[in-house]
Every structure is written in structure tokens, then in C-alpha cells.
């Protein structure tokens, strides 16, 4: 397992977290997180429901402010910069959130072009070529005039990735990339992440609770539990770890996420409507 020096950041690291704490009101969610992500590395953040992994991701992309600690992104501590500086850094990062989060009222092409129209002064003809290049890169060439509602779940995810790639980010964040997808489509999304990593040498951070996917795409993994880093290491190190919490997490039978349990409960208990009534 990696030894982390709490005091020093690695100068060559793309992202360094030092004693990162995040609270919602009185309740602290992350209790002093430390790790580094190196350029070109795919780091998977693993954790169960309520572990704090999604809060960690939201904090890394600047959507939550830490209560204390440091987040070094490309040599800048984003925990202590102005919103203008943060906006400049956001142009260097791409985000693909759960559910795709495409705008339903816009075509696929307009969705992909949105960051370019919002953040650049490029000519419309240039933007249209870029959006087609990005759709081609995710296997959606020719879909620019479709509405998101006309796409399958896997295609929506790909379109969202194309939008995340629009500004040529150096760091790409994925929140539960395979959530809500059937296993074959989910494997396709894993494959896309691997292709992006190989082709663009991008630094990729993926938050997931899907172990098969995590072991396929990760260079290294971090296991978060109750707001603490329990373990960090390569996939081999994780697999052979004897740490009880790591074993418990890796050996578990896939436990459904809370939202899925609620969906299941809803499905079981919702009012039955007989045909014709």
C-alpha cells in the first residue's frame, strides 16, 4: 500500500489532497482525506452507500467547499482560490455525472457544444466541427441532431462523455458511470473509459461501487469508509490486501445501493392498477 506523507504534496501530482475535511452543518462527512493522483492515472474511488465518496467527488470538482484542508489541482490549492480562478480551472476538468444529465430540450449536438458556446469565443463553424469530432470519439458519429430522449441509456452516457470532453480536459471525473445500465452496456462504458485513457493520456477519477468495473479500469484504488481512507493501492495490492474492511468490501455479495432498495420497495408496494380501470 502507498505511504502518504501528510505534510508534503508530490510536486508532479495532478491532484493532491491534504487533511481534507468536509462538513454539512454540524456533521462532518470527510474526516481528513490524504492521497495523490498522478498525471495519466485512472484512480477509482470505492465505497459503499454513505461512505462519503460522492461528497469527495463533489469537493474535488469545486461543488462543495472543504471545512479545512487542501486540494491541490495542477499546483493550485482550490480550497483557497477565488471563484474566477476556480472557473479557469473548471475549463481543464470534465465531469460526467450519474444519469448523464443531458439537457432534454436540446439536441445531442447542442448538449456537446454547450461548454464551448458558454466558455469560448470560437466561431460557430469551428464549434460544429468540434462537436462532431467528440461524438465520433465516443462512437456516436451522426447523432448530433437526435434528442436525448431518442437515445438508449448507454448512448446517453456516451453523449454526456462527449460533452465532458468538449473542452479537451486534462482531468475527467466520472460519478457512477455504469449506474442504471445493464451489464453489457455498462461494459461498453468501461471500455470507453479505457480507450479515452489510452488515447488521450488523461487523468481519470471514477467514483463507483461496481467492483468488476473498478478492477477493469483502475490503475489504483482508494477505499473510502465512513469518511476516511481505509486503503489505497494498485488493483493487485487491493486484491491481496488482508485489511479486514477491504476484505469485507471486496468479498461482499453485491449489495444494492440505497436508491435501488427504495426503487425496489416502491416497485413492490406501489398501487396496482388493473387494466381497464
Amino acid at each position: 500500500m502507498d505511504q502518504i506523507d501528510n505534510a508534503l504534496t508530490q510536486p508532479e501530482a495532478m491532484i493532491s489532497l491534504r487533511n481534507l475535511r468536509v462538513s454539512y452543518g454540524d456533521s462532518e462527512i470527510l474526516h481528513g482525506i490524504n492521497f495523490d493522483v498522478m498525471p495519466g492515472e485512472t484512480l477509482v474511488i470505492l465505497g459503499g452507500s454513505g461512505s462519503g465518496k460522492s461528497t469527495l467527488l463533489r469537493t474535488l470538482v469545486g461543488l462543495e467547499r472543504p471545512s479545512s484542508g487542501e486540494i491541490w489541482l495542477k499546483g493550485k490549492n482550490i480550497a483557497a482560490i477565488s471563484s474566477d480562478e476556480m472557473n479557469a480551472i473548471r475549463k481543464k476538468i470534465g465531469m460526467s455525472f450519474q444519469g448523464g444529465a443531458l439537457f432534454g430540450s436540446m439536441t445531442v449536438g447542442e448538449n456537446v457544444a454547450l461548454p464551448l458556446r458558454e466558455h469560448t469565443k470560437l466561431e460557430e463553424t469551428t464549434i460544429e466541427i468540434i462537436l462532431r469530432l467528440k461524438l465520433d470519439q465516443v462512437g456516436l458519429a451522426g447523432f448530433e441532431n437526435y434528442m436525448p430522449s431518442q437515445l438508449s441509456g448507454g448512448m446517453k452516457k456516451r453523449a454526456a462523455v462527449a460533452r465532458a470532453l468538449a473542452m479537451d480536459p486534462e482531468i475527467l471525473f466520472f460519478d457512477e458511470p455504469s449506474a442504471g445500465l445493464d451489464p453489457i452496456i455498462a461494459a461498453g462504458v468501461d471500455q470507453l473509459i479505457l480507450e479515452l485513457k489510452q488515447a488521450f493520456h488523461m487523468t481519470i477519477i471514477v467514483v463507483t461501487h461496481e467492483l468488476a468495473s473498478a478492477f477493469l479500469i483502475a490503475d489504483r484504488m482508494v477505499l473510502i469508509d465512513k469518511g476516511n481512507v481505509v486503503a489505497i493501492g494498485s488493483t493487485e495490492e487491493m486484491r491481496s490486501s488482508t485489511h479486514p474492511r477491504v476484505r469485507q468490501f471486496l468479498d461482499r455479495i453485491a449489495e444494492p445501493e440505497v436508491s435501488q432498495e427504495l426503487d425496489y420497495l416502491q416497485m413492490l408496494t406501489e398501487e396496482y392498477r388493473r387494466p381497464g380501470r
Binding site: T120, K121, L122, E123, T125, T126, I129, I130, L133
Partner: protein
Amino acid sequence: MQIAARHLDKVTIFDISGDIDLATSPQLRKALLREFRELKTPRVVLNLGAVRYIDSSGVASLVEGLKASREVRSRLILFGLNKTVREVLQLSRLVKIFEIYEDEAQSVAS
């Protein structure tokens, strides 16, 4: 990014240096479109030997330039691509679409 133009007989050579990115690609686009649409230059050669990096907006600008060249039956030729630039064009599946040569002599003569 810097662009310096040289003119040989019916050929314009742009020596480009630095990064072709969001901030600079509009300048390259404008130069290419002017060369083809206004000046109707039969052959424009881009010396990319001193270009360190090209982003998607740079690639898109080259694509626009290529399209403009075809519309007036001119040629856009690239040479001196470093590994990074060549890789970006390869990933965009554009290496075979552009005319790419090893050096200036070939680019001007072929």
C-alpha cells in the same frame, strides 16, 4: 502561437510555433480562410515543426481550412508534425484526410 508567412511562387508557407489552442486557433483559422477564400492561393503549406500541442479547436480550424481549400480547388499541406500533433490527428482519424509530408521540399514540390 506565432504565425510567420513566407511566399514562394504560388505557394504560401506559414511557419507556426507554440500551442494551437482555444486562445490561438481563431488566428490560424482566419489566416487559412483568407488565404483560400480571398487570395485564392493555390497551395498553402503549414510548417508545424515548432508546434508543441494542438487541441480540438486547432484540429477543427485545420479541418475548416481544408474544406475551404477544396472549395477553391487549392491544396493545404502539413509538414513537420511532432509525435503529439500527429497522435491528435490520428485519434481524430484525420491523418489520411490531410496531405502530410516529411519536409518543406516535398511539401512545395509534390
